[in-house]
């Protein structure tokens, strides 16, 4: 059987039980997505883009069961942050558990509620950035999402949001298989902080399309669910206008499989795009950050800062690309991906790439993988700091550069605290 045929069969099996809603304005982008998906099929292990991460579990017709995670009375990330909470349980919006979504300068709607309306601002965005992001590499899991998402939020921001909007994903069933699709439009000069956290489902597929108009600012901070057995594939597709700013930070602790893709296109001059991540994995943990950043206009700045702490056989993957188009003179691009391997069983696989067609650019990238600094560890211990605390201090120091990408001091502190307590729980 040919590779193409295998992919087609896998696709047929994957979508057999998914419902394809063909109503309202959503029908057109979904049908188009289904066509696109049929053309490429699901990703295969031999695809260049999936060399380090086996897509089998994401492709499988059903989600592998994942035990529910009980954090006990341990505080959850963002608990301390004043925010507008929107709760999804197994991918279904739970109005009763959510806050009143009214927030000045921000319009929040549920995808399934407005899909049947005749015209909607999101009709021009839904699937559009995702489709743009399929070049030069296809991202079939995102196409699948566009075609079959069952819920999501549509957020239009016209002013300065007073509080963060917080998407909370709860997992209710051990077999939940969830596809969510969000569209976010920040109009010129607007500003929003979006938070996401929670285990979500046994298997989660999310797409977030973000249009950041001229001068707008988008902050995204995500705490990926701590459930040990959950699997997730997420995509962020963003387009940045002139002098706009996009900053996304992801904290991942645990999770059997996580593939986070981020595709950003800077189309306006002097735009700023920062993507960062801190991942900590103990044991059966595979975490993949795949980033594609396009400098499509002059004077833009991009930063990618990814740090992973791995132990007991955990695997970290980083695939990061900076593409600088010919028009994008005065580009400032920085990329760093580093792992701290706490034992010999863990591994980090990195593929940093630069593709530059402009001549006046400043781009740097680096990738390292190393063990804890034994000399520093001894120095701390010799001052009376117990080994476990000394190790945590060094691990947090290692992660600090990624955490410092979070602009909001309160949120950054919250993330630090969550990491600290994770390290405490995973001392051995």
């Amino acid at each position: 059987m040919s590779v193409a045929q295998v992919k087609q069969d896998a696709l047929a099996a994957r979508i057999a039980d998914l419902s394809f809603a063909e109503k309202g304005w959503l029908a057109a982008p979904r049908r188009a997505a289904l066509d696109r998906l049929s053309a490429v099929g699901l990703p295969g292990k031999r695809d260049e883009y999936w060399r380090y991460t086996d897509p089998a579990a994401l492709n499988a017709p059903a989600a592998a069961p994942a035990a529910l995670f009980d954090p006990g009375d341990e505080p959850q990330v963002f608990d301390q942050i004043d925010r507008v909470k929107l709760v999804f349980v197994d991918g279904v919006f739970d109005a009763a558990a959510s806050d009143d979504p009214r927030l000045s300068g921000v319009e929040i709607e549920r995808l399934t509620e407005v899909a049947t309306r005749d015209s909607h601002w999101a009709s021009g965005l839904y699937g559009a950035l995702e489709a743009r992001g399929q070049n030069p590499v296809s991202r079939p899991q995102a196409i699948l999402n566009t075609a079959f998402a069952t819920d999501g939020v549509l957020i239009r921001v016209t002013g300065q949001a007073k509080k963060p909007v917080s998407l909370i994903y709860k997992q209710g069933s051990t077999t939940s298989d969830v596809i969510l699709h969000h569209c976010i439009q920040l109009e010129a000069g607007a500003e929003l902080t979006l938070l996401e956290n929670g285990a979500a489902a046994a298997r989660l597929n999310t797409v977030m399309e973000v249009e950041v108009d001229d001068g707008a600012r988008f902050h995204h901070i995500r705490g990926q669910g701590r459930a040990h057995e959950r699997q997730a594939v997420t995509h962020i597709f963003a387009r940045l206008g002139k002098e706009s700013s996009f900053k996304s930070f992801t904290l991942s602790a645990n999770g059997r499989l996580t593939r986070n893709e981020c595709v950003i296109e800077m189309t306006g001059e002097n735009a700023v795009a920062h993507v960062a991540g801190a991942a900590v994995g103990d044991g059966d943990f595979h975490h993949d950050d795949t980033v594609f950043l396009t400098h499509g206009a002059p004077g833009c700045e991009s930063r990618q800062v990814f740090k992973k702490v791995l132990k007991n056989g955990a695997t970290g993957v980083f695939q990061g690309k900076i593409l600088v188009k010919q028009v994008a003179q005065k580009t400032d691009g920085y990329q760093i991906s580093q792992s701290l391997l706490l034992d010999d069983d863990s591994q980090f696989l990195a593929k940093p790439e630069l593709e530059i067609y402009a001549d006046d650019v400043k781009c740097s990238h680096g990738s390292t993988s190393g063990a804890i600094d034994e000399t520093a560890l001894f120095y701390l211990q010799s001052r009376g700091v117990p080994k476990s605390i000394a190790q945590s201090l060094l691990v947090l120091a290692f992660l600090a550069e990624a955490i410092s990408e979070i602009e909001d001091a309160e949120i950054a502190e919250d993330i630090r605290t969550r990491l600290e307590s994770w390290l405490e729980r995973h001392e051995r």
């Binding site: 600094d373 001894f378 001052r383 700091v385 605390i389």
Partner: protein, 251 residues
């Protein structure tokens, strides 16, 4: 205070013997100095005492106030009152000097069953001690030893010692890399800590430091052994004649 008997040490990963039977007894309140040619094993002795990995004790013992040191984790030795000022202080990017000091002070207090210092009290004490060592506030905020000059690193070691108030202080070439004024400052810092319940083992190549920190006993170490012990005049002899005479005499 510190009692070392017939200490033999080899490298863990190689068959290289470094210490070949070190004997040393330091009473409470005393200051001892160790001098000796490069590579004679002085730093190794200090590392083995403080519990660094990579060395294997093949024979002998070392006790601090009767407690066997060599069985303890490095942090336990610290809590028991041992302190080593490193010959090469370690840079730790990402860990603030203040955080480091406070974590260390409180970890030791906790280990000894004492109450932890509040953030406010800690700050007060550290500022005061830093001031006498001419360590400015900005240096305290920086990551541990990162971007510090050689002399600043050594002063930072003494600040840690002053904060931790150990009873047995081992200073490994704390004078190297110091200018004349900084050496005085460091010596004053050490002298301020001298009291009847605290002992010092000062490793140095130069008599100059011993002008400021007056030793009770001076030892000469060579090829992993203490080959001669005497009073302060021994340091002067080394300063004037080098080690050749002493080595010949012992042979």
């Amino acid at each position: 205070m510190l009692e070392i008997n017939n200490l033999h040490v080899k490298l863990e990963e190689e068959d290289k013997v470094i210490l070949r039977g070190v004997d040393l007894k330091i009473k409470a309140g005393e200051v001892h100095a160790i001098m000796g040619p490069n590579g004679s094993g002085k730093s190794t002795l200090s590392y083995v005492l403080s519990g660094r990995d990579g060395y294997e004790v093949t024979d002998g013992s070392a006790t601090l106030d009767g407690e066997e040191l060599l069985e303890m984790e490095p942090e336990e030795r610290a809590a028991a009152g041992l302190f080593l000022a490193f010959q090469y202080p370690v840079e730790i990017p990402g860990v603030g000097n203040m955080t480091f000091l406070r974590t260390a002070v409180n970890a030791q207090r906790k280990a000894r069953g004492e109450e932890e210092l509040s953030a406010g009290d800690f700050l007060k004490v550290v500022r005061e001690k830093a001031k006498t060592l001419k360590i400015d506030a900005e240096m305290l905020k920086r990551p541990v030893n990162v971007g510090f000059s050689g002399g600043e690193k050594k002063r930072n070691e003494i600040l840690q010692m002053a904060m931790l108030e150990p009873k047995m202080c081992v200073l490994d070439e704390t004078d190297s890399g110091l200018d004349v004024d900084a050496m005085k400052l460091v010596a004053e810092g050490v002298n301020a800590l001298r009291d009847a319940g605290r002992s010092f083992l000062v490793i140095t190549h130069y008599q100059r430091l011993l002008d400021h920190i007056k030793p009770d006993v001076v030892h000469i170490m060579s090829a992993g052994r203490i080959i001669k012990t005497g009073g302060p005049e021994l340091a002067l002899e080394v300063e004037n004649n080098g080690y050749a005479d002493i080595l010949a005499e012992v042979k």
